[in-house]
Amino acid sequence: MAQGWLQIAIFLAVLVALVKPVGIYMARVFSNQRVFLSPVVGPIERLAYKVLRVRPDEGQDWKEYARSLIVFSLLSWIGLYLILRTQGVQPFNPQGFHSAPWDLNFNTASSFVTNTNWQYYGGEATLTYFAQMAGLAVQNFVSAAVGIAVVVALIRGIVARSGREIGNFWQDLVRVLLYILLPVSIIAALFLVSQGVIQNLDHYTVIHTLSGGTQTLAQGPVASQEAIKELGTNGGGFFNVNSSHPFENPSGLTNFVELLLILVIPASLTYTYGRMVGSQRQGWAIFAAMFVLFVGGVAVVYMAEQHGTPAQHLAGLHNHAFHGSTGGNMEGKEQRFGIAGSSLWTAVTTVTSCGAVNAAFESLSGLGGAVPFVNLGFSEVVFGGVGAGLYSMLLYVLLAVFIGGLMVGRTPEYLGKKIQAREIKLVSLGVLLTPLVVLLSSGIASATTLGKRSLFAGVNPQGFSETLYAYLSQANNNGSAFAGYTGFVQPHAPGNAGAYGISFADLLGGAVMLGARFAPILFVLAIAGALAGKRVSPPGLGTMRTDNPTFVFLLVGVVILVGALTFFPALLLGPVVQSLTTRLF
């Protein structure tokens, strides 16, 4: 295992090293300052404003900002839905695919516009290249940019000296796309192709294999989509098996780079935050809280997966490692990633709201599989999705300030701004809405025969885990899955290639994703508006500090407390049972 720990340590070291330079770069982009790309991108940016007919220097208050965001997202949704409905007449469709049923399209459109990328379909068996490129990959870009825009608006609200404006949505959208997401995606895509990720528009290739059989190889423009899929913490695979497919993720090196792409923006945003509020320590405090929760999860998954599963032990398999073999639970894992690379990915993709997978979550060991549940139970505040993670974490920061203030008997204050009734009401709504949606939707699915049809593992703890995870994942805009759920009904494509025929799961899931994405965004923007108008008072002797280890401890405690109080009973019925028992069912 030493080699595995070393790989994990190297990853963490590289990630931490990237936080500062990337964080500074993003702060400059968000503050409309010059960066090294300005000479190239500047003219394109100005052209974009002209085409969009916006005046970038025109500030918006929180309601105007929210309106632009909602209108843009609504039209994005309609555009994507239309693309998914019209597959039969599209170019770049060498396999001649027709559209999937409307309820599946509803789920998919909602999924990609909300940065969730939950997939009730198998890409290579369902979608045209055009739908993948012009439909899904476009939303990979813009839904990520929307998330980042919201956190930038919130930061502006926090630092505003007085006034109502929190920036211009269109300017934020354009700058995030042109200065961050697109350039990095271009470089990452070219790198991935150079390592073996495919990028073409060909027919699927029929091959006569070495031993005399035939094998059809799916093709497609994969690298261009893979890059932004990771960078934007989207996670929707080109192929059904996502980043475990060798054409998406061919080696230990690509695995490492893709993991970095997933975490680099969410982690670096904490530094950006510190810089924009004028105190680097504030950013590092938030980073520290996230980092502690993240590393704990990685360690648990790795040790659990190395141990193997009860089913394997009872079958007489020895899961120990020896010379030439990783040992551990290799069910649903790839040899080139091994236990360490798969475990690290499992933690990374569930602390962020990425949801891409390189191993089968449903085949994780009981305890290893409990970690994704816990990470999602924290409402994606441990790094989280691009932008979404930090703005959700800032809600917890305000909550921690409030609770801390009550404990020491002071008026709660954050960065010189008083946190009052209106803010705390909005924070509570923002913090509680997602868990509430999860519990209601998974409760409905578990309690009715409508949800039962989706179960793959049957009516047992594993089946309950499938259901709970499906709605946890969709509500938190993650998109990873215990993929047996609703996965076995598509005619002519066994396994989990599609969800044709279960309208209940499609529709409830789609509604959950939309509600749990946009309602919190509105609360966050409202908080930004409320804070923007507040005067800053200088810190006094009685001010509770928010940049020291005590506060980090408090923040971690609040995150764990809210998550545990909300989800512990539900977790007991699924993942906890499976972590504790060696019985089979």
């Binding site: 269109w170 528009l201 091959i207 070495l210 190889l217 061919p250 073999s325 639970n329 396994g495």
Partner: protein, 196 residues
């Protein structure tokens, strides 16, 4: 409101064109010029005939003259992929591993007399994630080498050399796990000692 609608409509159209058509096609164009082999799936051929992709595993089940790939939920389908989704406490998972373990022992033990169940590497009896895992573990290959040597009439040392030559190591000795590329190894074996 009307201004927002207009701007949003233009934005959706422009972004679809730029990010959804120009960007992927530009990447495709560059890739096809610079690294066409990799962009088209790293295909491998024998005497000009394409026999597979070095990144995509193939099924050699029931062909004892070849190294065997890992078990697969999809029988190595390259156009419909999915996981087995068998859980940690699943009876089906126990049965599948039990069956795979028995089959592995039945296949290898006659050639590797000292082989016992606790020496069977995990990758040999569990299904991969992609269903087309191109690799097996080194331990798995070393066990199978006995059978290949006997069936093909090659010295064991020669087969072990071929295994080392087709092992993809860790990047810089650090990242990922070593794996033996089954298709390329089988091609090399075929070249060394062709089946009649």
């Amino acid at each position: 409101m009307r201004r927002d609608l207009l701007t949003a409509a233009i934005a959706v159209v422009v972004m679809t064109v730029v990010l959804g058509v120009v960007y992927p096609l530009a990447i495709t164009g560059i890739s096809q010029v610079v690294v066409p082999g990799k962009a088209n799936g790293s295909k491998v051929s024998i005497d000009g005939r394409v026999v597979g992709s070095s990144l995509i595993g193939q099924d050699f089940e029931g062909k004892p003259a070849y190294f065997q790939s890992r078990p697969s939920a999809t029988e190595y389908s390259g156009d419909v992929t999915y996981f087995s989704n068998l859980g940690p406490n699943s009876v089906e998972a126990r049965e599948a591993v039990r069956k795979n373990l028995a089959a592995y022992m039945a296949r290898e033990k006659p050639y590797d007399r000292g082989l016992s169940k606790d020496q069977v590497p995990v990758d040999a009896v569990t299904e991969s994630a992609s269903g087309v895992d191109p690799h097996i573990s080194q331990a798995n290959a070393w066990i199978q080498a006995h059978r290949i040597a006997a069936v093909r009439g090659l010295p064991l040392a020669k087969v072990d050399d071929l295994i080392s030559a087709h092992t993809d190591g860790r990047f810089l000795g650090l990242l990922g796990e070593p794996g033996v590329n089954v298709l390329q190894l089988n091609i090399a074996v075929e070249k060394e000692a062709p089946l009649r």
